[in-house]
Amino acid sequence: MTTLTKPEAQPTPQGSEHFLSVRDLYVQFATEDGTVKAVDGLSFDLDRGKTLGIVGESGSGKSVTNLAILGLHNPRNTTIAGEIMLDGQELTGASERTLEKLRGKKMAMVFQDSLTALSPYYTVGRQIAEPYMKHTGASKKEAKARAVEMLGRVGIPHPQSRVDDYPHQFSGGMRQRAMIAMALVCDPELVIADEPTTALDVTVQAQILDLLKDLQQETGTSIILITHDLGVIANTADDVVVMYAGRAVERGTVRDILKTPEHPYAWGLLGSIPRLSADVNVPLAPIPGSPPSLLNPPPGCPFHPRCAFAETVGGDRCRTERPQLPDGRGSACHLTVDQKRDIFIEQIQPRLR
């Protein structure tokens, strides 16, 4: 990884330190058409044992952010700048060797589509055992025993025999469980789950989320849960970051985001969730338009072309001035605090019933 600007080494206060702290992260891809600003000045924190939900549409930079934490981008066309501190260790600009030791051991990732994310050529057991052997120096036999133990822990029946199966012999839900077993085999302190339930049907989704929560309670790991589904966040996350066009546009506790969201984009996300209790004749309200091009993001607030409230702000502030996201609870929007509250109560909330 190349760093644009090395951040100044700041004296960091010990003790009050967050477990994971991302500051002003920029991830840019050089393509033939120009530079894609996939992540554009993102900051967030995560404490031990907590779950952070990152929500946003496809292409909002959620996955890119987390691949950057693991250092999995192709260094040839990717520029990463900013600061990623994991347990006091700087990860941007860390050597491949250092990162290799951390991946799988201290930080692990659960990927979305378990059919393509697991190698079809090796047994599930071997794929789980591999990182355990690498990081703990365990023998083949010990690692296999560990793989059986992990498969049992994630609720796969007959782990003793299933350990020798290939991924294609597992059902979708079981494969996702195996993925989780693989991520947790070395007891990582940070687990990044990238849309872990998107490829699964709803009943299995709930099981997988419960499983992640249970395992978190047992081991006390921190989890970053990436999703586009606010319903997934509701039951699992402590804090939420809403991302749009590579930036965080709103930040708060899960209760804040679901009960009193402030950003028009978050309103749109909430409005597009289907509810069983809703009137079947009222169509869902999708967010109009599509996510902006990251090659050439709109000036000012990146959401303004899709925002219904740009007029309310008045003038062309939304088109010219990029709203800042305050520290802690808040949203990056030019609407005043009162306007946000009033619009939400008067116009948005009634539609959510």
Binding site: R103, A108, T116, S119, Y121, K134, M182
Partner: protein
Amino acid sequence: MFRFLTRRVLGAIVILFLITAVTYFLFFVLPSDPAQLACGKNCSNKDLVSAIHHRMGLDQPVYQQYFDYIRGIFFGRNMPDGQNCAAPCFGFSFANDQPIWPLISDRYPTTFSLAVGGSAAFLVIGVGLGMLSAWQQGKTFDRVASSISLLGNSVQIYFIGPLAIALFADNLGWLDHGHDPTWTSDPIGSLNGLVLPCLVMSVIFWSNYSRQTRSLMVEQMAEDHIRTARAKGMGSKYVFYRYALRGAAASIITIFGIDLGSVFGGAIITEATFGLHGLGNLAVNAVFSLDLPLEMAVMIFSASAIVIFNIVVDAAYALIDPRIRLA
């Protein structure tokens, strides 16, 4: 795996049966009278022709002739004129009345050695170059290697063969001129004599394999499961060899299976270029002398070799890709 192999072998037997049947009927039933051919030009004596008919068993119904022919391959048989033909019996040559099998068993080591040696050479060189190119993707080595591959892809055996002989054998004296192997009596000399033909034959193949391997490896490295392996902390070399190569190998083997026929074809052209005496040489002579039993035998033999190697390739494929094994 056992069931898989059984199925493949049974399938191969059916295919071989069809090949022999079609060839047999084409050669012996359709175009001209073999007795007339065996009798020679200007043979107008009716009695002589019918005597030959009887001697060759041509007065029997066609299915009986075919049955006798197949039985002869497995158990040997006595020809109608009382001549004994030991198994495997492919009949007697029209040209010189010799039993066919010794002619073939004399020649096939050359063709077989060429095919195997050439394949080994182009797989090692081609796949190796392709892997290095993929590893060095976009760098100088990659560019040079793809240029060389393009060049190798556009030459022919009969063009580079003589050039290679002139350079490496005549001028530099590093390698032997090609000569027929005699594995039992002179293994080292046989090896020496095969190096140049095998290398020349490999050129037209490895260029293709290096380009295929490169693109397969690059494709594999972009797969999701590669990213997963790296996210587990596996080193990039480990991932390259254990994960990406494994995926690419399945496709390489598929391509190799398709190329098997051309490998034997290439071996035949190489024989001609280097003046070796293999099956190709034998078949060409058989065609020119209208020696039908010999042609037929060469054809059955080559077809069997290709079918058998195909089973080996399929088995290798199944070993590499577990999804095939159970299908």
